[in-house]
């Protein structure tokens, strides 16, 4: 046992410092540059090997096949190009990390926003059916996290019927469906009913995708106005 420990220690000490600029910037290992010259100045990285993150290393994501990467990058790039460089700067988003089978504590997720590190990790293998809309959903979380005071959850919750209550957290509920309701009744999707923040993100992504069912839904109408007005507070030039 002592010998093994000694060998391991020796191995650790003889490893050279691998100075990786991407790691220094966003503290995610095993990334390589995919594209640096996008029109809105977003920098795209991809996982060259699987990586683990977080204090408990509970965030996991895997590297992808180059062909899939190329195909999904084009979709992601097309969608994110809807946002101007100045808007992205205002919301503190600069880096997009592309990887597959992204999960937090074993629960699969489409994306992980981190506005402090200016980074959005996207699972490029997330359900095809919702893939493009979900990109905007995740981006909204960056907007929200950078502007907590603007998107008041208290004010938002008042739009709902009095007897409705959100769950404690987005993973504390089984309401995970992403299909857009025909009869909305205040919510675009089942997942909208998980938390106020997820509800806002769903309204935002539907607005960006121009899926509006709110004509006959007074609650959704109020929610859409709330999102639009507050996005314009952040950037007056934003166009839905």
């Amino acid at each position: 046992m002592r010998l093994i420990r000694l060998i391991l220690l020796t191995f650790v000490f003889i490893l050279p410092v691998k100075a990786n600029t991407i790691y220094q910037l966003i503290k995610i290992p095993n990334l390589e540059i995919y594209e640096l010259n996008s029109p809105n100045k977003l920098k795209y990285f991809y996982a060259s090997k699987p990586f683990r993150l977080g204090v408990e290393k509970n965030i996991v994501c895997f590297n992808s096949d180059k062909k899939i990467l190329k195909q999904k990058y084009q979709i992601i790039n097309k969608n994110l190009n809807k946002y101007s460089a100045s808007f992205l700067k205002k919301i503190n988003l600069k880096y997009i990390v592309l990887c597959e089978n992204l999960s937090i504590s074993g629960i699969n997720t489409a994306g992980i926003p981190d506005n402090i590190m200016k980074t959005l990790i996207l699972d490029i293998k997330f359900d095809e059916k919702y893939f493009e809309r979900v990109i905007h959903h995740e981006l909204f979380h960056i907007i929200n996290d950078s502007n907590k005071s603007v998107f008041s959850t208290e004010e938002w919750s008042k739009f709902n019927n009095k007897d409705f209550k959100y769950a404690e957290c987005s993973t504390c509920t089984k309401k995970l469906g992403l299909d857009t309701y025909i009869n909305t009744n205040g919510f675009f999707t089942e997942y909208s009913q998980s938390t106020a923040s997820e509800d806002m993100a769903e309204v935002f992504s539907h607005l960006i995708f121009k899926i509006s069912e709110s004509k006959d839904d007074p609650i959704l109408k109020k929610k859409e106005i709330f999102i639009k007005d507050n996005i314009l507070k952040i950037d007056n030039n934003f166009r839905f």
Binding site: V12, F13, I14, L15, P16, V17, A19, T21, I22, L25, I33, L36, K41, K43, K94, I116, M117
Partner: protein, 214 residues
């Protein structure tokens, strides 16, 4: 009576070879020991500068590093930098973070001072002047020799610490506040002590002096 023994021809050859070998080893030892031997030391007085008011000279173990500051790119950062240089604040400050052929970082005025080094806290020290706002809007490209202000993970936390890059770093553009660029003496920086297994240096090298040209 002692008979004088004359060295044979082969013995003379061996003796000469031994002397040559000894000289070779001694010279090699001295060359290896003196890391600055082949580093050119630039004399700023012998160079003409367009904007001498923006030229600063950092003197390290192997000689001078001549840097041009860019007040037009980052006015506030250069103002702070000049203030600290003029007050000799950077003299005897450690190059506490060095990555071989990539980056050197220094300027921790609180925990990086010679004789007052605090290895537990080095890299977290402040100048006492407060932080300044990041200046990231310019089109400054981080090419080899660029000098930028270090910060925490958040913007607007720049203070006295700065770094100089020893290779092009396109990802630094718009990320760190630039203050200038090394004009002469990059080789001096490449000789600054680094460790192979850690970015942070035990018994680091120090800035001898850091002065304005004028």
């Amino acid at each position: 009576m002692i008979k004088k023994v004359k060295a044979s021809k082969s013995e003379k050859i061996i003796f000469t070879l031994l002397i040559i070998l000894g000289i070779f080893f001694l010279t090699s030892f001295l060359i290896i020991r003196d890391k600055c031997l082949f580093v050119k030391n630039f004399n700023p007085k012998k160079i003409e500068f367009k904007n001498p008011q923006n030229i600063v000279i950092l003197n390290a173990q192997c000689g001078n590093v001549i840097i041009e500051l860019y007040p037009n790119v980052s006015p506030n950062a250069v103002k702070r930098f000049k203030y600290l240089i003029k007050s000799n604040a950077y003299d005897d400050i450690a190059f506490h973070r060095v990555i071989e052929n990539k980056l050197i970082q220094t300027g921790d005025l609180e925990f990086g001072k010679k004789n007052k080094l605090d290895y537990a806290k080095i890299g977290t020290g402040k100048s006492g002047l407060g932080t300044i706002k990041s200046e990231l809007d310019g089109e400054f490209k981080y090419t080899k020799g660029s000098v930028g202000l270090a910060r925490t993970f958040e913007n607007d936390t720049e203070d006295s610490q700065f770094f100089i890059i020893l290779q092009d770093e396109p990802l630094f553009k718009g990320e760190y506040t630039p203050v200038g660029k090394v004009l002469y003496g990059l080789e001096v920086l490449k000789k600054i002590k680094y460790l192979n297994n850690s970015e942070y240096v035990l018994r680091p090298d120090f800035i001898n002096t850091f002065k304005m040209m004028n």
